[in-house]
Symmetry: none
């Protein structure tokens, strides 16, 4: 079955709200194995809405509209749909009764303009709204199904789950199952080349690369008769990709790099402390985003001034004077200093030039040193990131986390 | 001018990502006074993308595509647009050079598949990508303008601001001038009530409230013959709003709370050091996001363990034992400790329960104490935020920054 989603609302076209409803419904349809090829957004304009509904009906067997079911004059979705389908709007008594009960419970008087919400296209099925007033509608028309849902997410989501999903499950065969592999330390293009043959040959599952700062995602999506069968297809392809990329695959689905690092440290009952200069607390902030980080993260310092590097971390002044605050020696000394001071298994030290100012010919903006000190490990990684201050700082944090992750995975078991 | 936005990407139709780019561009177009009547989303499918581009060109003078500019084989937007416009794809040397430099700086080898990103429709203008590899494109064609932007938001947003917005501002007759007032310490509904009459009477400028965690934005948009005239309309309305909201208006346009705080401190030649527990470095990270923060931010510590609070900040163990680590006394002691240790004018101390675990009946998740120590100031604010660990941490940072801002603005001049 092919589906289309039409989001209705001028507030969407003004960018005043983000259309999370469309994403929610897209996920739900995918899980049901229903193909979604188009999404359209129009404002509260009957002519353009009519055109959008007609276009959708010409391309799809399932058309879902979002929004425009409310009591105000700019809520026109049901009216337009009824017009396109050539159906009258008729009063739905149960919906009216439910609305009256709703207002009674609130101890409020139901205003006149609410009545229009109880009207639905003749022959349609009203979808009860347990979290608001406007009922939804499902209408079968010429081998097609048209569903109108309310705009507020807390009304739309339960209405879909309770009334629309059951309608769609009948007569659907097959499901879609999807898994995301998250990769660090490589660019999108490098990943794509390493699995070029798999990308070229992809059918089921499909493989969609997606890049975000410091990481690349590969989304595997399989279609099969059952979730188990789809999952099996995914697992097979995942294994082939992991063969190619090895440890560069750091996580699955929503797992973050910091979650992986905290999990690995906790599993080894090891602890971490960090000393940051150019990242200014972002690394500590990202690590402590993980619930339960306190079990492995002992402390952090943001030694922004040279004085603080000396006072808090015992970085020798002559090291700073000889090599400069942004140097491998200082990064190493910061990592060793915080590790010793905190008495943790691991210490990370970061110093660099995030920009926009402060760069020189031999020490340009984007130059960063990351020091890592641990059981039988003492290393410094020199990095050079292009881009804005923000990007340099974000990518430095990702790289520092990945450096520790690889040490934890590969050595000192 | 009429515009349409076409979002390209199967991941959108699978609901695996929410289309925040479309909302961003919608806001920007609205601010420019450009009418947006349709938004369409299609997958990585050349045939449906071609149809979408043709439909958009038949209805609008400005067509903006999002996504599909990357190096992989499913990135087809430029190819399809060139085909629809009947243009060849030609190599853009500056884009190629920029990409090569990007990879050189990263110390990575530029892989073969990257080259396709340097090709643009003949006669088009390449839009430099300062935060990634894929350049954007702007092509004028039959009184129309077609703009292709990359999918990653951190690439799309600066590219739009730096290169597309200027293109669109020229050729608009009459100008639209827009200013955003940023408000802290109040909810959206409270702000709306305080200016209810202004909202009700809005015509030119219009007033659009927009809420985001910890702050409320009011976007004033005026249309006039000249920028000067439009700016005058804005300034008049801004004055009336500031009369109502006073110091709650902390900034204008893209100005962030941390930028304001850094600017105020720099203006007074005063310095700051911070000690964080539950926010785990986010406050320091946010302050050091500001270029030149080093002039005012001396150091920060993330004292996640009790031991680190004692060792690094000199918080008396008996205070922790008597009142608990999450208490007004500990927050005050942390602020005083970091201020004294760093020898700064101001010290901030934060302790709280971000959750999801760790809450009790008398100290629930969301309970946070912020201590502020400064010249002739010593105060502790008790907060209680609802919501997730992330929200509690974010709002704590916003509140701490605002607390210092108000002290800097109102006292000790």
């Amino acid at each position: 079955m092919r589906a289309e989603i039409i989001s209705v609302g001028t507030e969407l076209l003004l960018g005043q709200i983000v259309d999370t409803n469309a994403a929610f419904l897209s996920r739900e349809l995918a899980a049901l194995g229903i193909d979604l090829y188009h999404r359209t957004t129009v404002g509260d304009n009957p002519e353009r809405l009519r055109q959008a509904v007609e276009d959708a009906l010409s391309r799809a067997e399932l058309v879902i509209t979002i929004g425009g079911l409310g009591p105000t004059t700019d809520d026109l979705t049901k009216e337009v749909v009824a017009q396109v389908l050539g159906l009258e709007l008729v009063l739905d008594q149960p919906s009216l009764a439910r609305m009256e009960a709703y207002f009674r419970q609130l101890g409020r008087k139901m205003t006149e303009n609410n009545y229009k919400q109880a009207f639905i296209p003749a022959g349609g099925q009203a979808l009860p709204n347990l979290h608001g007033t406007a009922p939804g509608v499902a209408v079968r028309w010429k081998e097609r199904l048209v569903v109108c849902l309310p705009g507020p997410s807390h009304e739309l989501e339960p209405m879909f789950r309770d009334y629309v999903r059951p309608l769609l499950q009948t007569g659907q065969n097959g499901v879609i199952f999807s898994r995301v592999l998250k990769i660090s330390g490589r660019g999108e293009s490098a990943v794509a080349e390493e699995i070029a043959d798999l990308l070229a040959a992809q059918t089921n599952p499909t493989i969609a690369p997606l890049a975000s700062p410091g990481e690349v995602k590969l989304r595997l999506t399989a279609r099969a008769a059952s979730t188990a069968a789809a999952e099996e297809l995914i697992t097979g392809m995942e294994a082939r990709i992991r063969e190619r990329l090895g440890l560069a695959v750091f996580g699955v689905d929503d797992e973050t790099l910091e979650e992986v690092v905290v999990r690995l440290l906790a599993g080894r009952r090891e602890t971490l402390a960090v000393a940051e200069s150019c990242t200014g607390g972002l690394l500590a902030g990202q690590l402590t985003e993980v619930p339960g980080a306190s079990a492995v993260f002992e402390r952090g310092v943001v030694t922004y001034s040279n004085r603080s590097k000396v006072e808090l971390l015992g970085v020798p002044e002559e090291v700073i004077n000889t090599y400069g605050a942004v140097s491998a020696e200082v990064a190493r000394s910061m990592a060793a200093g915080i590790r010793e001071q905190a008495g943790t298994d691991w210490g990370i030290g970061i110093t660099g030039i995030a920009g926009p100012g402060g760069g020189t010919a031999e020490k340009p903006v984007g130059l960063v040193y990351v020091g890592l000190e641990g059981p039988a490990v003492s290393l410094v990684k020199k990095l050079n990131f292009p881009g804005s201050r923000q990007i340099v700082r974000r990518r430095t944090v990702q790289t520092a986390l990945d450096l520790l992750r690889l040490e934890l995975l590969t050595k000192h078991r």
